[in-house]
């Protein structure tokens, strides 16, 4: 029961991911701004991706 409930964090992450990598956020971040020389939209894409992975690792760890 407890394990099943914790696994639901992955579903929440999935939904978050569906929002992050979608209209309109992608369009919002497409601005002529750079982060350490990298265009904002690319920094956002990889940053959000890394964030999802870190959150997934955290949830997986808590399930042990």
């Amino acid at each position: 029961m407890e394990r099943g409930r914790r696994g639901q964090g992955f579903v929440a992450l999935f939904m978050l991911g569906c929002l992050l990598f979608n209209y309109p956020l992608l369009e919002i971040f497409e601005r002529p701004v750079t982060v350490v020389g990298v265009p904002l939209v690319y920094a956002y894409l990889f940053g959000a991706w890394a964030l999802l992975i870190a959150a997934a690792a955290w949830i997986a760890r808590r399930m042990d």
Partner: protein, 921 residues
């Protein structure tokens, strides 16, 4: 200098290393020290997803439109996040049902259907051919480019490289050899290949290291970091558009559809299914893969854009962006990096080709060739000979055939497209499995016919909208049709079906094929109903986490253990078959296989073992050939039908029961609330009653004590005190009587002697009964009665009780000497109304509702002596309510009050047909 012999030597040396790893892993297979029993190895083996397309093609795609390469990896990231639910369920099902391949999985779900298995196999093989040709193209080109070292000779059209076709052919044949050597050395039980998985995981590491190495080299050695590259690219007018990737028309729609497409691909590419589901040794590994596999993909993509932009900056034109990974270090004479990249590319391509062809060959063998062979042998002849060699030969032949077809596709169409575009065509093909597969995993209503319709429709649309244009584009055939539509009908143009234009061809094909696929699946499934086997399999798949233990055997026939052993021997080898049956016998307490009772259990066991090698559909058919089918008589048929319908009826019943339970729970809750409220009221009542009882008791006790302690009391006082004691005792008696009366009335236990009555008589009797009190207090009373009224049905004593109560109340609150009470009786529609009007002190509006409650007496209880018990009006209202009427008051303080009640005429008789037997006089 990089000589061709050096490159070839390096390639074969690398392959040799892979074989060593595979051999080592196979030696330790199955044991506790198994190489692949680590979750990281599982995660790395999933990275077989990253092929030559990733290794070379991502950079090409990034150079073309900036972000187009990313959804291919973000989609799987999202899908793998659901892996703990979806992927784990697939693994569990595959273990329970002994699934051997993707086609086997879908076929098993839909009643072990041979047709579904064959259809999935055809779709997978034809769909994957472009993908395999992509790997051949990538390796062949990289080899040819490398041979030109140090010169970078890569025209936009890779085809103009000398001998590319020939190189590709050799590459195809060598890969076929690797695949055969890795995947089909012997027949594995359950199609597990530990050595192969270990080699694949190692290759995943190599390609990651190689790509990251070249990424670091380009970004930090050739340029001064990512900021430098992006800054220079932004300054170039031709490249600045890559800084705003979503600004292009349709870019977002393409992005979303590519993401969806890739989500399906990570589950339904045959090689992904093979490593993620079939080769999985422990479903807990999924928990690690959920983050480790996305991390791998992130790592291998970080440097894609810097390399792409670096390449575009270094080679303004004339170099195919698909080759930047290789040509950038070449151009800067970095031999070590160049060779590392080459080996990484080989890793990516061989890993994909080996696993893909092994998975496809299993499907071709089990779902195309075997069913055909079985059909040919159906005509009475028993199956003879050793089939293990036959199966291996079929699989090896299938591997060679698939690679040859991939090569032909490369020659026919491969050169017209960039690497990524070729791969996406394959993605779109396997995505056609998604509705039948995923819905089948969660919805029991999907039927075999629905799956067949969905697969056929989706695949047909894919052929028409993607494969046909691909061939046409390479000038092979159908150019006319693609340009103008069939018979010149514009609306049916393959690349702009029904006028849907302006999208990427892949997006366009996905939209139409998914609509057709899903509509066919749902429509046909809902129109028909599943058969008994389909239903059983649907339950097995959908409810896999709720089931424990083995499935019940479905066999209704018997055969000898020897016959089964010989059957198993043909497919698994004699020694293996004997060993399996011996283990089976031992587990059931027999000394040898001789003791085995031929029966359904044994047949089921044999079917499971066979399914682990040749798939569920074929295994079922094989066992059927040796099983002495007991002819089903009508009774048995009825039993089977009964069982099926029982299951259906039972589940419906369960649903009904659940609904009933829910509503029962709701009403129980409500009843409980009511009970609690009643309990509280009862407590209030008891405390009030005891309080009321104590008042007269206290006076009685006080006066008795005075009399007791003062024997020489003045006789007049003594008389007065005794009178008070008597009066208080009477009051106490009255109170107790009334409490009992009220309790009886409220509980419905009171006796009612219903009879036909004339209400005028009762009013007259009540007036004359109270006339003495009126006289005493000097209050006048007059009654206004009509000449005649309809008779009513009621209890005379009870109505009398109400009248007396109202009259005594009226006289009680009138001023002595000038009081006047009027009693009126009138007929109104359906009822008689009695009014008792006085000109007494009246009642405050806020008290008018309270006086009917128990123990409510209006007035200052501190100064006024309590004039009654406080129960009279409560009893009256109860009685009137029981008669079906109403009791109420109108009053103004200082002007008097009017108490009225009604007694219904007919309703009383109809609603209360109480036995009018015990009549009062």
């Amino acid at each position: 200098m990089l000589q061709s012999w050096l490159v070839i030597l390096l390639s074969f040396g690398y392959i040799g290393l892979l074989f060593a790893i595979a051999w080592h892993a196979d030696q330790r297979a199955g044991g506790a020290r198994s190489l692949i029993s680590h979750p990281m190895v599982y995660s790395l083996s999933l990275a077989v997803y990253a092929t030559a397309w990733t290794f070379y093609g991502s950079v090409g795609r990034a150079a073309h439109d900036g972000v187009g390469f990313l959804p291919i990896y973000i989609g799987p990231t999202l899908m793998v996040l659901l892996g703990w639910f979806v992927l784990r369920k697939m693994i569990r099902v595959a273990k329970v049902a002994r699934i051997t391949s993707l086609a086997d999985f879908v076929a098993s779900r839909y009643g072990k259907s041979a047709l579904v298995g064959a259809l999935v196999t055809v779709i997978a093989v034809i769909g994957i051919l472009p993908y395999i040709s992509l790997q051949l193209k990538a390796v062949a080109s990289s080899f040819q480019i490398l041979l030109q070292y140090p010169e970078v000779v890569v025209p936009q059209k890779a085809a103009s490289l000398p001998f590319l076709d020939v190189t590709a052919f050799y590459v195809a044949m060598f890969m076929a050899l690797f695949a055969i050597a890795f995947g089909t050395r012997h027949l594995d039980v359950g199609e597990r290949h530990e050595g192969l998985v270990a080699a694949i995981a190692f290759e995943s590491l190599v390609k990651l290291v190689a790509f990251v190495a070249v990424g670091v080299y380009v970004t930090f050695v050739l340029y001064a970091g990512p900021g430098d590259i992006f800054g220079r690219a932004a300054a170039q007018p031709g490249l600045s558009r890559l800084m705003k990737p979503f600004a292009a028309e349709g870019a977002l729609a393409n992005w979303v559809w590519m993401t969806v497409l890739s989500m399906f691909a990570i589950l339904f590419l045959p090689r992904q299914f093979q490593v993620a589901v079939i080769e999985n040794v422990d479903e807990r590994h999924v928990k690690t893969a959920v983050w480790a596999f996305p991390l791998y993909m992130l790592a291998i993509n970080v440097f894609v854009l810097p390399i792409a932009l670096g390449g575009l900056l270094a080679f303004p034109q004339g170099v195919d962006p698909d080759s930047f990974v290789l040509t950038l270090p070449m151009a800067h004479h970095s031999e070590a990096i160049t060779l590392l990249v080459f080996v990484g590319g080989i890793s990516a391509a061989t890993g994909m080709v080996i696993v893909e062809t092994v998975a496809l060959s299993t499907m071709v063998c089990n779902h195309l060739v075997l069913p055909l062979v079985l059909r040919l042998r159906r005509d009475g002849r028993a199956i003879s000979g050793d089939y293990t060699r036959f199966l291996l030969t079929v699989r090896r032949g299938a591997i060679v055939a698939i690679l040859l077809l991939g090569y032909f596709y490369f020659v026919a169409a491969g050169e017209a497209y960039a690497l990524v575009s070729i791969g996406l065509i394959s993605f779109a093909a396997v995505a056609q499995l998604a509705p039948a597969f995923l819905l089948g995993l969660y919805w029991k209503g999907g039927t075999r016919n629905g799956a067949v319709a969905a697969l056929a429709t989706g695949f047909a649309i894919w052929l028409y909208t993607l494969l046909l244009p691909a061939f046409a584009r390479s000038g092979w055939s159908g150019m006319q049709l693609v340009a103008n539509g069939p018979f010149g009908i514009e609306l049916l143009k393959p690349t702009a079906l029904f006028g849907l234009a302006g999208l990427d061809p892949i997006t366009h094909a996905m939209i139409w094929s998914m609509i057709g696929n899903l509509a066919a699946y749902l429509g046909v499934s809902l129109a028909g109903r599943p058969g008994a086997v389909e239903l059983a399999q649907a339950n097995l798949f959908v409810d896999v986490f709720r089931q424990a233990g083995e499935r019940p055997p479905s066999w209704r026939s018997t055969t000898s253990a020897a016959a089964l052993q010989s059957l198993l021997g043909r497919f698994l080898g004699e020694a293996r078959a004997a060993e399996l049956l011996r283990a089976y016998a031992l587990a059931r307490g027999h000394k040898s296989t001789q003791g085995l009772v031929p029966g359904a259990d044994l047949l089921h066991f044999a079917e499971l073992q066979l399914a682990g090698t040749i798939g569920a559909a074929s295994a079922h058919a094989m066992v059927a050939t040796v099983a002495q089918e007991e002819p089903l008589d009508i009774d048995q048929v009825m039993t089977i039908i009964d069982e099926a319908s029982h299951v259906l009826a039972y589940s419906r019943e369960l649903e009904d029961k659940q609904r009933e339970l829910e509503s029962a729970t709701t009403s129980l809750k409500a009843a409980n609330e009511q009970l609690k409220e009643l309990d509280r009221l009862k407590d209030d009542f008891i405390s009030t009653v005891t309080h009321e009882l104590r008042t007269p008791l206290t006076s009685i006790r006080a006066f008795s004590e005075i009399l007791h302690d003062n024997p020489d009391l003045d006789p007049a006082d003594r008389q007065r005190f005794l009178a008070l004691v008597i009066k208080e005792s009477e009051r106490l008696t009255r109170l107790i009587n009334q409490v009992l009366d009220l309790a009886k009335l409220e509980s419905g236990l009171a006796e009612w002697h219903t009879a036909e009555l004339d209400l005028r008589e009762i009013v007259c009797d009540a007036v004359s009964a109270t006339s003495q009190i009126f006289k005493t207090r000097g209050v006048s009373i007059d009654a206004q009665l009509p000449d005649r009224t309809p008779r009513i049905l009621a209890d005379r004593d009870r109505v009398m009780q109400v009248m007396l109560n109202l009259l005594s109340n009226a006289v009680k609150f009138c001023a002595e000497g000038r009081g006047r009470v009027r009693v009126r009786l009138a007929e109104e529609p359906g009822a008689l109304r009695v009014e008792v009007e006085d000109n007494g002190i009246g009642i405050d509006p806020e008290h008018q509702a309270l006086i009917f409650e128990k123990f409510r007496q209006v007035g200052d209880t501190l100064t006024d002596k309590p004039a009654g018990t406080g129960l009279g009006l409560a009893i009256c209202r109860e009685i009137v309510a029981r008669l079906g009427g109403r009791l109420w008051v109108r009053s103004r303080p200082g002007e008097g009050s009017v108490f009225s009640f009604t007694v219904p005429l007919r309703v009383a008789a109809a609603a209360r047909p109480a036995p009018a037997t015990a009549q009062d006089a």
